[in-house]
Symmetry: C2
Subunit: 265 residues, 2 copies
DNA sequence: CGTATGATTGACATATTTCAAGGTCTGTGG
DNA sequence: CCACAGACCTTGAAATATGTCAATCATACG
């Protein structure tokens, strides 16, 4: 089908609330009218199957995307053809922001499992942002947060040892899933050990050993893909983050700082 | 409003062209009128002296900044109080974009030498962006570019050996200076070895040794702060970027491929 | 079932850090 | 102007975290 199914507004609005554009519209005073305008430009795409590409490096960028459900990894190829993963994108997160600059996707985006996606044509989003200043502001905020997250990640790669990296990675997943209403302590790794290692700049073997070590230390249980975290604070300590020290909320590199729970489950 | 000294438009426009907001206005069809509007909100700040802070972590963010001349480093503090440098900002580059999200600076910004800065109040820039869609677009592009650069840097930290990191760093400086009209092959490092090491996730000693090695290999000359690059292509090769043909001499992840001794003594 | 893919584990290699020392430059105060 | 202190940089030797290589094991999948 060329034209994606048109959804009635009520459900779409709900969709945005629980799903992805949460970030885009909700945290600010976007009126219902404006919300409708926004929703009207959003397309739902047919779900991606595992290993399907959403886009590839060099593709023309026309839209940005929000993950509704599933997981997407983004990666580039190094000059010698190796894959370098630049991020994992969970439900409610945007991707494609790195392509605005050139209008060409520098990365590939690929589903790690069956994944549904909302597509937001960027030119229309820009038009709308001119008409809805709050939306423009929110877009700036989202991109800024991405930059902040990236900086944080650089610190991880530049300064932290392997165990701290893996711990921080797990905590990041935990927190991001938690924000969307999933369990913070029990979840499935949708990416392979290889992907994790690649992302964290480590060897697969190192990641594997660390999992066993963390498990041995009673921090968590690892059964294949299934992670059960027993000791979040302990993981924080390994990650070199002081968990209780008042400031975990203050930073909250993930946005969503409001203590209020995600509305849906 | 304590309008800082009003500069005549001619000189300001010239200032923007040669200086910093080049990126912001020139590459697109911003009319003279619009350019004037933009220029009117920009303040020149009194020059920073070496080690002066432009802002500190936790400071309220009200403006973004463009480096007119000089160098600024931005850094965060890790949880255990160590400094982690997140970037060096050369003339013509913007900083503070990571603070839009929270309205609070997550990083500190500090001058590495006498530095002059333009300040752009962000709320006014946003207002203007609503009125000048091309400006909004350009801002999105700039932020997107930043994200892209960060992704690239992650790859460096995650995948590249120390020599490739340093080579890439030098090439980045070279290219960025070149863009602004400075020499690509001869420049001063305004940052200490310590800063470089910190930024690249290496030990100072490693950086020092690499400099000697690069010098011994005839890639460049290092005299204290003064860098003279003799072989840009060679540096590209070390950095793992194939500038032209691909000749990596087999495996050689180490820059010094000769199994014998390092060419220097 | 048997083959392919991914994960784990061990032994070994090595790039980079750490530790320690000495060298060089720069600014300062006598 | 010189001497000195302190910061910065370089160099060497030893320590180590992590990568590489190789073998085995578990799981998924046709």
């Amino acid at each position: 089908m060329s034209a994606p199914k048109i959804l009635d507004l009520g459900s779409l609005k709900h969709a945005c609330k629980s799903c992805s554009l949460h970030d885009l519209c909700l945290p600010l005073g976007v009126s219902d009218d404006e919300l409708q305008l926004l929703e009207r430009i959003i397309n739902r795409k047919r779900p991606l199957q595992r290993k399907d590409h959403l886009y590839r490096p060099g593709d023309r960028m026309t839209s940005i995307y929000a993950v509704r459900s599933g997981t997407v990894k983004t990666y580039t190829l190094t000059d010698d053809g190796q894959e370098q993963i630049t991020g994992f994108h969970l439900p409610g997160e945007l991707l494609g922001l790195d392509a605005i600059s050139d209008g060409i996707h520098p990365c590939a985006a690929r589903a790690l499992e069956t994944t549904s996606i909302c597509e937001i044509p960027f030119d229309r989003l820009e038009e709308l942002s001119v008409r809805i200043p709050e939306l423009q502001h929110q877009l700036f905020r989202i991109m800024s947060r991405e930059i902040q997250t990236d900086e944080h990640f650089m610190m991880l790669l530049g300064k932290k040892a392997s165990d701290a990296r893996l711990a921080a990675f797990l905590l990041s997943l935990s927190s991001r899933l938690g924000i969307r209403g999933f369990s913070r302590t029990e979840f499935n790794l949708t990416m392979s050990r290889n992907d994790i290692a690649n992302y964290l700049g480590l060897a697969v073997e190192t990641v594997s050993r660390l999992f066993t070590r963390f498990q041995g230390a009673g921090l968590m249980q690892v059964r294949r893909k299934l992670i059960t975290i027993y000791d979040l604070d302990g993981l924080h300590t390994v990650a070199g983050i002081h968990p209780v020290g008042e400031d975990l909320r203050g930073h909250c590199n993930n946005g969503q700082c409001n203590p209020g729970k995600s509305p849906m489950d």
